[in-house]
């Protein structure tokens, strides 16, 4: 796919991926799968056979690998949007602090302390 130029997103915000049209196209299948996790039967089907479920939604290899590794930063890189990814994380009972820790290399408690330190 040709590189789609972003519109007014010229500034670089370290550690932040702007979820724009480019990311939304890249991550469509992944996000669609995660959106399906709103329904309990889809969460169960995923747990029963992850590979078949990913195949059904047409995830690419990069997305499949990041799902297998529970690699949140990898999922974002592969076009995942955090609101849909939160539903994936929910399958494993992960809170947003757990997910924050996973992305920043902190334990959940360290991440909570970091949040408090900004008060």
């Amino acid at each position: 796919m040709a590189d789609m130029p972003a519109f007014d997103y010229h500034i670089d915000i370290p550690g932040t991926t702007i979820f724009d049209g480019k990311q939304a196209m890249k991550g469509y299948a992944l996000n669609k799968m995660c959106y399906s996790f709103n329904r309990a039967e889809n969460r169960e089907a995923f747990k029963a056979d992850e590979e078949a479920f990913m195949e059904k939604y047409g995830l690419n290899d990069q997305q499949k690998e990041a799902i297998r590794k529970r690699d949140v930063l990898g999922l974002i890189e592969a076009g995942g949007n955090i609101y849909y990814l939160a539903k994936f994380a929910g399958i494993f009972g992960l809170s947003v602090q757990d997910v924050g820790g996973l992305q920043t290399g902190m334990s959940t408690d360290e991440f909570k302390d970091y949040l408090k330190s900004q008060a």
Binding site: K32, V96, V99, L115, Q118
Partner: protein, 283 residues
């Protein structure tokens, strides 16, 4: 004609729903947060609004990326709260006000806001948590007003500008004031924010200074905030702090002359700097 009593903003963090269910009001972690609400309860009890316009942002329950409305207005008889993927118990449906919905839709489109109307719209924590905070026991609170949800896109860029959000609110004001129900009393909610970021290496980012700047200006000087560009908003409020757009939409609906009744600000609740604000409109 209808009357706008005021506007109330609050963060709408999913964990709050859980804390309410467990009644953690006096828990040391939660107390500074829940302490922000009794004054709001009193105000609501004193004024008993008939309608609540709930301006929130959907987080992947009502809308997916297949169709992503920039501004969507509910036009249903009721709004169902559904499982967002975490298997939490859902609340009972919230009663709608379709005649007010269609009045708003007609007025907004006549005013050149090209909105999306929704006769079915499942509502997520962004809508229900504020209802639970302001009307404990919602939707079964005895004074529960009928509702019109309005959702703005903050999931996918391009998101609306702060300037457009404020203008949307001002057009909404016109719509509400022209609703031909004698003495209808309306309250407007703006939910979400304040600063927070859930994703990326910058997850956990909170910006007290910027939040305070927004809180100061939104009361009497909201136009000042329209100078903030969208990327600046992401940078300063965090990727999900863009939900401040809902506060701007609410603010626009209140007119120039407002009185601040109460505010609260606390870091952190979950990953978020939580904020709440009650502004009363001049009689």
């Amino acid at each position: 004609m209808a009357k706008i009593l005021g506007g109330i903003t609050t963060s709408h963090i999913p964990a709050v729903g859980n804390a309410i269910q467990k009644e953690l009001y006096d828990d040391p972690y939660w107390k500074p947060f829940f302490d922000g609400y009794p004054k709001i309860h009193q105000w609501i009890q004193d004024h008993k609004p008939d309608y609540v316009i709930n301006i929130y942002n959907d987080h992947g329950l009502g809308f997916f990326l297949d169709k992503m409305p920039t501004f969507a207005i509910g036009a249903a008889h009721e709004y169902r709260n559904e499982d967002e993927g975490w298997g939490l118990p859902s609340l009972d449906p919230f009663p709608g006000a379709p005649e007010l919905s269609w009045h708003i839709i007609e007025s907004m489109v006549a005013d050149e806001f090209d909105i999306t109307s929704c006769q079915e719209l499942p509502v997520d924590h962004g809508f229900v948590v504020p209802m639970q905070l302001f009307w404990p026991g919602a939707p079964h609170h005895p004074d529960m007003p009928r509702t019109v949800p309005i959702s703005a896109n903050t999931v996918q860029h391009p998101i609306p500008t702060l300037k457009r959000a404020l203008a949307f609110g001002r057009a909404l004001r016109k719509a509400l004031l022209s609703f031909p129900e004698e003495d209808a009393k309306i309250v407007v909610l703006g939910t979400g924010g304040l600063s927070h970021q859930l994703d990326g290496q910058r997850a956990g980012f909170i910006n007290k200074e910027f939040d305070q700047y927004c809180l100061e200006n939104i009361v009497h000087n909201p136009d000042e905030l329209t100078k903030i560009t969208r990327m600046e908003l992401v940078e300063k409020a965090g990727a999900q702090g863009t939900e401040f757009l809902m506060w701007m939409m609410m603010r626009g609906a209140l007119g120039d002359d407002v009185t601040e009744i109460t505010r609260n600000y606390h870091i952190p609740i979950s990953n978020t700097a939580s904020g709440t604000l009650l502004l009363e409109c001049a009689a």
